[in-house]
Amino acid sequence: MKWVLVGGVAAVPFVLPSQSMVNIAMLTAFSAFLGQCWNIAGGFGGLTSFGHAVFFGSGAYTGAILQTRYGVNPWVGLPAAFLVGGLVGAGIGAASFRAGLRGSYFALVTLAFAEVFRVLSNSLEFTQGGLGIAIPLKVSAWNFQFADRRATYAVVLVLLAVASGVAVWLTKGRMGARLAAVRENEDAAAALGVDIVRTKTWALALSGGLAAMGGVVYGQTYLYIDPSIGFGTERSVEMLLVAMIGGAGTVWGPVLGAVVLHVVADVSRAFIATPGFAPMVYGVVLLVIIAVLPQGLAGVWAQVRGTPGGARDA
């Protein structure tokens, strides 16, 4: 029933005539997708990352560089970005978790990694430094550029479905159970045979690989990326906010969070159009959520049904 409803709502933009409505739907789905990627590590694994843009940006640059320098078809950019994002995640994860970084320290180190990537992309010739990379306009489905936003929306929906599928799988399978165990209590998990470093590294790699694909979609949609678009803190914070507000460690959380985020954005923009006003409201919403709904909006639903669950500290 829930699925039919959500499917129905998601399908509405396909029959809408207005491109701006489609655009809002696409942006919402895109936020939900990135939030879901964050959620895989940050929610299900309790790995509170402040630097998830490092994956998004790695993917965006992978797609853009393959295409502009080596003439690789941008569709190929998707799996390539997944691979690169996964490797970056595995590298950051292995280094941090081996060193025993947790909680706030992990959050800060991810922020620092994102900053390293930002500075590097801002100064290397390979990434065209601060100029950024412009992707040549050539609209065709083969070239992953669509004249109709509904096509982009469809691609984003597919990605969202994939990431949410991973989230569902985490609630059911062995990997997810181990990840939850590590999130709740590392010592107890290790005593039961869970390899903590491997489990967390794996979650970060998967989360990073998926988020990197979002970077490719971004590049193909807006045809331009630069260091702050790719690796800026705003992206990291938005991913976190969407998941936390909606409900970290729940499958529906990021979707709810993204809807709230964009509704807040559009409503507040209607009243006060000053830049900064809408993000300020998200910040307030985050504080309220932490104060009164530690499980996020999805937690309300779970409480109503009386099931335990949801994320705790790393």
């Binding site: 059911k172 159970a177 165990a181 005593a191 039961l192 045979g193």
Partner: protein, 244 residues
């Protein structure tokens, strides 16, 4: 089955464990007793791979495991419980136990079935779908044992699973541990409650200030003057003998 030699650990100026040797033969229940702060939990932590020993060798089923990680040792079949219980507080009781079951099977349905069976066998049947945070002290102790058992261990290290329980609960846990041994699992347990040790253990080691000061059957240990002094203070054995 488990062979420990020369195990030592120092925390700053404190020699917490000092040249400890232990043998746990297959199929037995061996008890490790001693006053608070004797170094029992620290010994467990080293045996189970949570704390790196300063010196010593730990051999499990003929394989040296000194310095191995806790999860590797658990995978070999030696699993500990925690004196201070460590539930996965945000998960249900059944989900807690299932984490253990997943060590031996990757199939979610099978792991859940095993977890529920182990939980029910240990008297947690009514609580299986409640959050672990809702358990009583006795329930948490049972959950510790249930999670460990769900990994199908060959050897269990039980750290004060009876502390804080009432006599009837202790009675049940004693029966439960017997049942575990009958199921073919070797047990090394830390315990304060001497009746329980007497009822369960084949062999007892006494630890005081980090060192093994006595070893023998529960009967022999109870009469050992060195042990009485370790618990009750210097001269206590002589005073007790004078009274008798």
């Amino acid at each position: 089955m488990l062979e420990v030699r020369g195990l030592s650990k120092r925390f700053g100026g404190l020699q917490a464990v000092d040249d400890v040797a232990l043998d746990v033969p297959q199929g037995r229940i061996v008890a490790l007793i001693g006053p608070n702060g004797a170094g029992k939990t620290t010994s467990f932590a080293m045996i189970a791979g949570f704390v790196r020993p300063d010196a010593g060798r730990i051999v499990f089923e003929g394989r040296e495991v000194t310095g191995a990680r806790a999860d590797q040792i658990a995978a070999l079949g030696m699993v500990r419980t925690f004196q201070i219980t460590q539930p996965f507080a945000g998960l249900s009781v059944a989900e807690n136990i299932r984490v253990g079951a997943f060590l031996r099977t990757a199939d979610a349905a099978e792991a859940m079935a095993q977890a529920r069976a182990v939980g029910a066998a240990l008297g947690l049947g009514a609580m299986l779908d409640r959050p672990a945070a809702a358990l009583t002290v006795a329930g948490r102790k049972r959950l510790e044992v249930a999670r460990a058992l769900a990994t199908r261990p060959r050897m269990l290290l039980l750290d004060e699973v009876m502390a804080g329980l009432n006599p009837s609960e202790i009675h049940e846990i004693v029966a439960m541990i017997r049942g575990i041994r009958e199921g073919g699992v070797t047990v090394l347990l830390i315990e304060h409650i001497m009746q329980a040790v007497a009822a369960l253990a084949d062999d007892v080691y006494v630890l005081a200030q980090g060192a093994v000061i006595a070893q023998g059957t529960p009967r022999a240990i109870a009469d050992d003057p060195a042990v009485i002094e370790a618990y009750l203070g210097r001269g206590a054995a002589a005073r007790l003998a004078a009274h008798a």
